[in-house]
């Protein structure tokens, strides 16, 4: 799946299917959903009828009439093709997903403890099934007993197996994934046809796609413009008649089709589908298009500190010895005490000592040492070795340890502990026998590049808030280092919820990620709630997006994709409307120059003949739809800039460009038409 997701824009299979779909979509009942293109279809139909009539009457302008009619049909087909292309990419993905959904035989556990074999299609929510190694999990559910490694590549594209176990936040399993080892009992939580896989298929296929609020509003604008131009063209004929220059139906319909916003009208739904598709390519499933739009509007990002802003674990960054102790002594004791310690913190101490003082790791087994693991009661760990009793742990624990041995923690060490805590680090005190040796500074390591990303977000007007269970002192220090705008320290699930409510009351839109069941209410409350795929079923149902990679940093990319979708829509709307200026200058003089030769001065493009001028405008109007399909599917170039800079940049490219481009395009087409004697 992972490799099929990054498919090229012009995949041959999709291309062929889209080609056929373009014709299927000519069905007026389908077309009616798109008022702009429906008007073009009606126009094409009318000109077709007139072509046959003129053909019977051997009309002299037949060659022009036929060409116009063909290009009008092409305009409709190109728009349909754009939509079919966007859908095709999703459909190909859906096919791959369907293969994972093949019917399997499930082992259902009956209330009396006995088991029976049933088809997975017959499973209902509440049933309990037994899945052993090698078997497919028959439906979405919650593990109620056991632990297993599961291959979820059918859903995530990630081939490394993941551990799923009963209880806690890793208990959810998805239908269509395979158990690789051990066996589990799963309580099924969804009915056939409503599973995650089903929803995923429907989503990528666009079957349930509903127009988003902004898309509806934009459609109203486009329909309104269409009516206005329809009015302008219909009333033009009486004006033309008064001026003794009546126009043919072909010319009037050509003018209408050129003026109504066909470019954006033809590409609008493709842009929407492609936006969803881009999310899928990032392994994110949005449950509604509304959520994607909301992502573009987000004002506040709530990011969990651990795993999102910082690497998952603290690392030793410094050894600070107590008075009378050398750094080497401290480092040596710290390393020895950490050698058997397999926690990431322990390993980082060993590494730091090695890097800074060249202390090589020694094999404890050779030294006949006794390892004292960390326990919740003593809150320290360490080794006993040839009479040396080395301990490391929290300040309180070590102080208690020293007191027990008839000693105490020196004031100087306490001062160091204070400093480390204030700088956002976690102090770990090391003691040997009755002496405190010093402090290890454990530090949260901020992920590379985060500061820059937060700065970009700030430039775009998005505030980031770090959520952490740390105390305010530590949180403030990390917040400063990571460059987030604000933080919520000692956060409990309720605090998170209150924060979201507070932001929303100010009119802001909030995005967050979460995976645990206790995140579910906040995920539901947030405007964009991204649940991790590894998370619980409750979390996945509460959020409106699911990240299959379970990468919380991806929230930032989701926001960018949302913004890009909106920008693409706006850019093509502006471009489409700006195009009209040039089309007027092509068509209007052509319509009336025969009656009023002075109007030739308005033919600023110096188009060869009235016929070639009108034809060129219609052809440009059709071809620009095809030309912009890649842009509609890929989205406009995205940069993290302030609204003012983005507007200036896009207004120049798509506004000014929209005015200038058709002048050049129409002129070129006119030259080609003249060269090949088509007009």
């Amino acid at each position: 799946m992972a490799n099929t997701r990054k498919r090229s824009l012009w995949d041959g299979k999709i291309f062929r299917r889209a080609f056929l779909d373009a014709f299927v979509k000519l069905n007026p009942r389908t077309m009616m959903k798109n008022p702009v293109m429906f008007v073009v279809e009606i126009g094409s139909f009318i000109t077709t009828v007139y072509v046959f009539r003129n053909f019977a009457a051997h009309h002299h302008s037949l060659r022009f009439d036929i060409q116009i009619t063909l290009w009008l049909w092409f305009t409709v087909l190109f728009a349909n093709f754009a939509e079919a292309m966007a859908e095709g990419r999703g459909k190909a993905q859906a096919d791959a997903l369907r293969r994972a959904k093949s019917d399997t035989v499930a082992v259902r556990v009956l209330p009396n403890g006995s088991t029976e074999e049933v088809s997975s299609a017959l499973l209902r929510s509440g049933d309990v099934v037994l899945v052993v190694a090698g078997n497919m999990i028959p439906g979405d559910g919650e593990i109620i007993e056991g632990v297993a490694s599961v291959d979820e590549s059918a859903i995530t594209g990630e081939s490394a197996p993941v551990i799923r176990e009963a209880g806690g936040d890793r208990s959810a399993v998805t239908g269509g994934t395979r158990v690789l080892s051990d066996q589990i009992k799963v309580r099924i939580t969804s009915n056939p046809g409503e599973t995650f896989l089903d929803r995923m298929i429907a989503l990528v296929e666009g079957a349930e796609r509903q127009k988003t609020p902004n898309e509806i509003a934009l459609n109203i604008l486009l329909a309104g413009l269409t009516i206005i131009f329809l009015l302008a063209v219909v009333t033009l004929q009486p004006i033309a008649l008064y001026s003794s220059a009546p126009q043919s139906i072909f010319v009037l319909i050509s003018l209408l089709v050129c003026l109504i916003p066909t470019t954006i009208g033809g590409l609008l739904s493709a842009i929407g589908i492609a936006g969803m598709d881009r999310l899928v390519q990032h392994n994110v499933l949005a449950m509604s298009g509304r959520a994607v739009e909301a992502a573009g509007d987000v004002n506040t990002l709530l990011l969990d500190k651990t795993g999102t802003i910082t690497l998952g674990n603290r690392q030793a960054s410094e050894f600070i010895p107590a008075p009378g102790i050398t750094k080497e002594q401290l480092a040596d004791a710290a390393q020895i005490s950490s050698l058997p310690d397999e926690t990431p913190e322990g390993r980082s101490i060993v590494v730091l000592a090695k890097e800074m003082y060249g202390l090589r790791g020694r094999e404890l087994s050779e030294m006949q040492a006794e390892f004292v693991p960390f326990s919740a009661v003593t809150r320290m760990s360490g080794v006993n070795l040839d009479g040396r009793i080395i301990r490391k742990g929290s300040t309180d624990a070590i102080a208690a340890f020293l007191k027990e041995n008839g000693s105490s923690l020196p004031e100087e060490v306490r001062a160091v502990v204070e400093t480390v805590a204030r700088s956002g680090g976690t102090p770990l005190v090391v003691a040997e026998n009755r002496r405190a040796l010093g402090v290890i500074h454990l530090k949260d390591i901020v992920k590379g590049g985060m500061k820059e990303r937060f700065a970009q977000l700030r430039a775009m007007g998005i505030r980031t808030i770090m959520i952490t269970g740390d105390n305010p002192l530590t949180a403030a220090a990390i917040a400063r280092e990571a460059g987030v705008d604000d933080f919520l320290a000692e956060a409990k699930p309720k605090d998170k919820m209150d924060l979201i409510r507070r932001e929303q009351a100010e009119g802001k839109l909030v995005a967050m990620t979460g995976d645990g069941t206790n995140d579910a209410p906040a995920l539901a409350q947030a405007d964009v709630g991204v649940a991790m795929n590894t998370g619980t079923q409750a979390a996945k149902e509460a959020g409106n997006m699911v990240d299959l990679d379970s990468n919380p940093t991806k929230l930032i990319e989701i926001v960018e994709i949302g913004k890009q979708l909106l920008m693409t829509r706006g850019a093509l709307t502006t471009f489409s409307i700006a195009n009209d200026v040039a089309k007027y200058f092509a068509i209007l003089p052509a319509m009336f120059v025969a009656t009023f030769p002075v109007l030739a001065v308005l033919n600023i493009m110096h188009l060869k003949t009235p016929e070639s001028a009108i034809l060129s405008a219609v052809i440009f109007n059709a071809l620009i739809i095809v030309g912009l399909i890649p842009l509609a599917l890929r989205g406009v170039g995205y940069k993290a800039l302030s609204a003012e800079s983005l507007l200036r940049r896009n207004l120049i490219i798509y506004g000014l460009g929209g005015i200038v481009a058709p002048f050049i395009g129409i002129k070129l087409i006119d030259m080609i038409l003249t060269a090949v004697h088509l007009a």
């Binding site: 609020p213 902004n214 509806i216 509003a217 934009l218 109203i220 604008l221 309104g224 009516i227 206005i228 131009f229 009015l231 302008a232 009333t235 033009l236 009486p238 004006i239 008649l241 008064y242 001026s243 573009g296 509007d297 004002n299 700030r458 430039a459 775009m460 007007g461 998005i462 505030r463 009119g507 802001k508 839109l509 949302g562 913004k563 909106l566 920008m567 829509r569 706006g570 850019a571 709307t573 502006t574 409307i577 200026v581 007027y584 209007l588 009336f592 002075v598 109007l599 001065v601 308005l602 995205y638 302030s642 609204a643 003012e644 983005l646 507007l647 200036r648 896009n650 207004l651 506004g655």
Partner: protein, 591 residues
């Protein structure tokens, strides 16, 4: 074009610019019910009015109630105007003993003044009694303007209020607009105009003996020609100054006399001309400041002001340039500007105003939906006549009518924000309010009604040789311009006439009357719906990602949207009218 001409144009605009802020802030205070110096005088009067009429001034109206109240108020006063016109021969203050006005003309005039259009299908000094002029027409001059201001304030409240169901009280807004703003300014200006020689009396018309007898030859329909020698002249009188002030200040434009502001009793000196032009822009310009203050975004107000300014100067430049060129068909006539003559195309212009002040007046009066004229637009060069036409076709938003200009422009702002707003990567928002499908629907309705009325009525008129075309004074593209101008002027509630069209016919009185009502009230209802809908919304706090509506870039965008949305609709009509006429004139053909 001369340096002196441009100096006068800039002097005029400097006056508008300087007064915008104090007047705008003052109006904001008046409508937010903060303290003003004028409270001492007007607050007691206001209280008495509310007590007598039983209005609860603390009552807040939803948009629907606001709209219905406004419609009823306008309907009732329109019917009253119709009645006074029809019955004027039985009423006092009719020294010339004018008979009752015919039904279709009475309808047209009632619609015209109620809708703040002041289109005049009649010659006032030979049709309307002093009572009709003062009681009904001057009354509407005040109240159609006050209603316009009230509506603009309602829309501003819709933008600035958050999660509110109401927009204010129509009665209070209208009363305060009249008492605090229109009345005091009108009194001061009327006195100023009297100082310049504008008349103010109730006398019957003077009879004067001509210094030089005139011989007139007239040809009747059957081809007989008759010669008549004229030795005396009727000089119309009346309470002109009081009406003149509000005619300009309220962007009404309905002249006391047929010649409107070209008449020496209405506009006697270049100084009175400057005052009258300033009055047209005074309130519309200041309302942008009111917008900025009430929405707590002063820079946004100025950005809108700047967009209006750009469009205004574009119009002045074209009109002044076209008129200063003179007529290419006049060979051997010196049309150069010099110390002794204005030069350029002086046909239909007053010598005391010259080219610059006539072109400026024509631009100003059509930018704002005033419609007063100090020259004959029909005699302007084709491109000079194009400017007033295009100004109106853009929707009367270049400063525009009092109130109407601002709310019209704000609809364009909403469209601009919607079209281009997406390009910053957020769903469109305007000053923290999300623009959603209902707002777009109403804005498109607002924008759609305008060309529907203009192009629809014009097309019908063009297809009716007897009713539509026979009223034309000219043929060819000039005739086309006359018809389109009439429907544009009425739908845009401007009221200026291109002349050349004999509009006092049954068809034109009825259709133009309808165009005026459609152009006013059919557009107000969707506008108020937007106001009501915006008021209900939450306010999204601004950030660096918010669509900027306070910068020069926004001004450029707004100008672009006004021009493209306006021009694209009317480009074919304008091409076959003034532009074609201009080109044919350059080729030596006139109409």
């Amino acid at each position: 074009m001369t340096a002196n001409g441009w100096f006068q144009i800039f002097l005029f605009f400097a006056l508008v610019l300087v007064c915008a802020k104090p007047l705008g802030v003052y109006m904001a205070r008046v409508f937010e019910r903060e303290k003003t110096y004028a409270d001492v005088v007007f607050r007691p009067v206001e209280r008495v009015i509310y007590r007598l009429t039983g209005i609860d001034e603390t009552h807040e109206m939803r948009w629907t109630e606001y709209a219905v109240t406004m419609l009823l108020f306008s309907a009732v006063t329109m019917v009253m105007t119709y009645a006074v016109e029809r019955l004027q021969q039985f009423l006092p203050l009719n020294p010339q003993h004018f008979s009752g006005v015919t039904p279709d003309l009475a309808f047209n005039t009632a619609a015209s003044f109620t809708s703040n259009t002041n289109w005049q299908s009649y010659v006032p000094e030979t049709t309307m009694s002093y009572l009709t002029q003062m009681l009904t027409l001057a009354y509407h001059n005040f109240f159609s303007a006050a209603v316009g201001i009230a509506l603009a304030i309602a829309l501003i409240r819709g933008i600035s209020r958050r999660e509110s169901k109401t927009l204010g009280n129509f009665w209070v807004d209208t009363t305060r607009a009249s008492l605090w703003v229109l009345l005091p300014m009108s009194i001061v200006v009327a006195l100023l105009l009297v100082s310049q020689g504008v008349v103010q009396n109730f006398r019957p018309y003077d009879h004067a003996r001509l210094v030089q007898a005139q011989t007139v030859t007239a040809t009747s329909a059957d081809g007989k020609s008759s010669t008549q020698t004229i030795t005396t002249q009727n000089i119309a009188q009346g309470p002109v100054a009081s009406q003149e002030a509000i005619k300009m200040l309220g962007t009404n434009g309905g002249g006391f006399f047929e010649a409107n502001s070209a008449h020496p009793f209405e506009n006697p000196t270049p100084f009175s001309n400057l005052i009258e032009m300033f009055l047209i822009f005074a309130i519309p310009g200041a309302l942008t400041v009111t917008l900025g203050r009430m929405t707590r975004a002063p820079k946004h107000g100025w950005a809108v002001f700047a967009a209006m300014t750009v469009l205004f100067f574009a119009g002045v430049l074209v009109a002044y340039h076209a008129e200063a060129q003179g007529n290419p068909l006049l060979h051997g006539v010196n049309q150069q500007a010099s110390a002794l003559q204005s030069g350029g195309n002086m046909e239909g212009k007053e010598v005391r105003f010259g080219i610059a002040n006539s072109a400026l007046f024509a631009t100003v009066t059509t930018d704002a939906s005033c419609g007063a004229v100090n020259g004959v637009l029909d005699s302007f060069m084709p491109l000079g006549g194009l400017v007033p036409l295009v100004n109106m076709m853009l929707g009367e938003v270049i400063f525009g009518g009092v109130g109407a200009g601002l709310y019209g422009m704000l609809i364009f702002v909403i469209l601009a924000v919607f079209i281009a707003g997406l390009m910053v990567g957020r769903t469109p928002e305007y000053l923290g309010k999300k623009i959603e499908s209902f707002d777009v629907k109403m804005a498109m309705l607002f924008v759609l009604i305008f060309p529907l009325s203009i192009l629809g009525f014009s097309a019908v008129a063009l297809m009716m040789p007897s009713a539509g075309l026979s009223a034309l004074g000219n043929s060819g593209p000039h005739g086309l311009t006359e018809i389109i101008y009439a429907y544009t002027s009425t739908t845009a509630n401007n009221g200026s006439a291109f002349a050349g069209l004999s509009a006092n016919t049954h068809w034109y009185n009825m259709s133009l009357g309808l165009a005026m009502l459609i152009g006013r009230f059919f557009m107000i209802v969707p506008m108020l719906a937007i106001a009501g809908n915006l008021a209900r919304k939450k306010l999204v706090p601004p950030s660096a990602g918010t669509f900027p509506v306070t910068t020069p870039l926004f001004t450029v965008l707004l100008v672009g949207v006004v021009v493209i949305v306006g021009a694209l609709t009317f480009f074919p009509a304008v091409t076959l009218g003034p532009i074609l006429e201009h080109l044919l004139l350059q080729a030596g053909k006139s109409f």
